[in-house]
């Protein structure tokens, strides 16, 4: 058995007087008994320190000496004698840094819980503050409306979800903790076209087709570049024309075929239908 072969020393030593916990970055001291010189080690995955000390005196560690939260093994070596103990370094109580991730950065309007925000809370030494901490989330829309959520962070993390607004534009998404805030910008873009319609009129030997201004269901203009598809069906044949929106409308000239049926669509959204008789 591997464990049996290890020489495990006692967990706590009587020659050292150790604090049980130390606030990250706070000053502290370790007192030892006896006389003569010794070496004091404080070692953990977060930091490693070594001090030459005088037994019987207190060894002072000034502010900023031990700042990474963690569980530290303290070893006092005096000649052939070794004593051990443990110290926990805990995060500072005051938040100093937020890691705030808002997703997505761009989304359609009117999506329920379409925007998520996750914030991790750190102290000045980038230790995760794991005690329950109130967090305020606020999504401010261009129209001036805002959604707010109050959440308690557990184990250093808080999350929320927000609805995208009914109006396009850039929204400010802010997380705030104890006076510290972090802001992200979320672009809300118009949704799919709604109530897509076109008109047709003769143009020489052809037909001039043009949509009315294309808007989503909230009245926002659908962005230029959105593809509008015109389809003409006649005598068992079919031809299509894909046209990008320009200045909010799409227009194209197609050959005229008496009896043709002409439709307009954008993606899966269908518009009106025209039967050309001329």
């Amino acid at each position: 058995m591997v464990l049996a072969s290890l020489s495990l020393a006692s967990a706590q030593d009587s020659r050292m007087s150790l604090p049980t916990t130390v606030g990250a970055g706070s000053a502290f001291s370790i007192h030892s008994t006896g006389s003569g010189k010794a070496v004091l080690y404080i070692v953990g995955p977060g930091q490693a320190l070594r001090r030459d000390v005088q037994l019987g005196e207190s060894t002072y560690f000034p502010v900023g000496s031990l700042y990474n939260a963690g569980h530290y093994l303290v070893i006092l070596v005096a000649g052939s004698s070794t004593d051990n103990g443990w110290v926990d370094v805990v995060p500072a109580n005051t938040p100093a840094n937020l890691s705030f991730l808002a997703k997505p950065s761009r989304l359609p309007i009117g999506l329920h819980n379409g925007i998520s925000g996750t914030v991790y809370i750190f102290d000045v030494y980038h230790n995760l503050i794991t005690k329950p901490t109130p967090v305020s989330f606020k999504l401010s829309n261009p129209s001036g409306s805002a959604q707010q959520r109050a959440v308690t962070a557990h184990e250093g993390v808080a999350t929320t979800e927000m609805d995208s607004s009914e109006k396009e534009g850039f929204a400010k998404f802010e997380a705030q903790v104890d006076g510290i805030s972090s802001t992200r910008v979320v672009e809300q873009v118009p949704g799919s076209p709604c109530g897509l319609t076109m008109i047709a009129r003769p143009s020489g030997k052809g037909i001039q087709l043009a949509t009315n201004p294309v808007r989503d269901c909230s009245g926002n203009a659908v962005p230029d570049g959105t593809i509008i598809t015109f389809t003409e069906s006649y005598d068992g044949a079919q031809s299509t024309a894909d046209v990008p929106l320009k200045h909010g409308v799409a227009q194209v000239e197609i050959p005229a075929h008496p009896g043709a049926t002409i439709t307009v669509a954008s993606g899966v959204v269908l518009g009106n239908e025209i039967h050309w008789q001329k």
Partner: protein, 166 residues
């Protein structure tokens, strides 16, 4: 093997070639998520697997004071802090070996965007400190770790690795 099982028990081997071919006993408890997103079994399994592998990297890196051994499994704050520790150890002429003996893991958070997972691990490990080839001590520790992992190209990497008082 499924994370949904009330208790899953399995073992991992330390890196091949390690002097102590020790096994860590691993308990994975059912997720207790405080976020809105559900966690798929495959994701949970991958997170736990990659996290446990990160202990092998940590052990090797701190024992050899080699920062490059962290690259596969650590990023961000966790990597920065471990890197600083290795530099301090190297400057002091000391090495440490953290041999994990047992893990009791529970995933507690999965971000709505899927870009971070948080777990709590009650770890038992042996810490051996060596100063200029002289073993100063080996001590057993029972520590509660808060760990945040984020996805990389092919695996989850440890971004926050922090021991908290139990």
């Amino acid at each position: 093997m499924t994370i949904k099982a009330t208790l899953v028990l399995f073992s991992i081997l330390v890196a091949p070639g390690a002097l102590l071919a020790a096994q860590a006993v691993v308990h994975v408890q059912p997720p207790d998520l405080h976020g809105p997103r559900q966690l798929q079994d495959q994701t949970a399994t991958a997170v736990v697997r990659d996290y446990l592998e990160s202990w092998q990297s940590l052990t090797a890196a701190l024992e050899k004071n080699r920062v490059d051994l962290l690259d596969q499994d650590f990023v961000g704050t966790a990597k920065d802090k471990l890197t600083d520790t290795m530099r301090q150890q190297a400057a002091l002429g000391i090495h440490t070996r953290y041999q994990d003996r047992a893990h009791d893991i529970r995933i507690v958070f999965y971000a709505p965007d899927g870009l971070s997972v948080q777990l709590i691990d009650n770890v038992v490990y042996d810490e051996r400190v060596v100063d200029n080839k002289k073993v100063l001590t080996t001590q057993r520790a029972h520590v509660r770790y808060t760990v945040v992992l984020t996805p990389a190209e092919t695996r989850w990497r440890v971004r926050i690795f922090q021991a908290d008082p139990e």
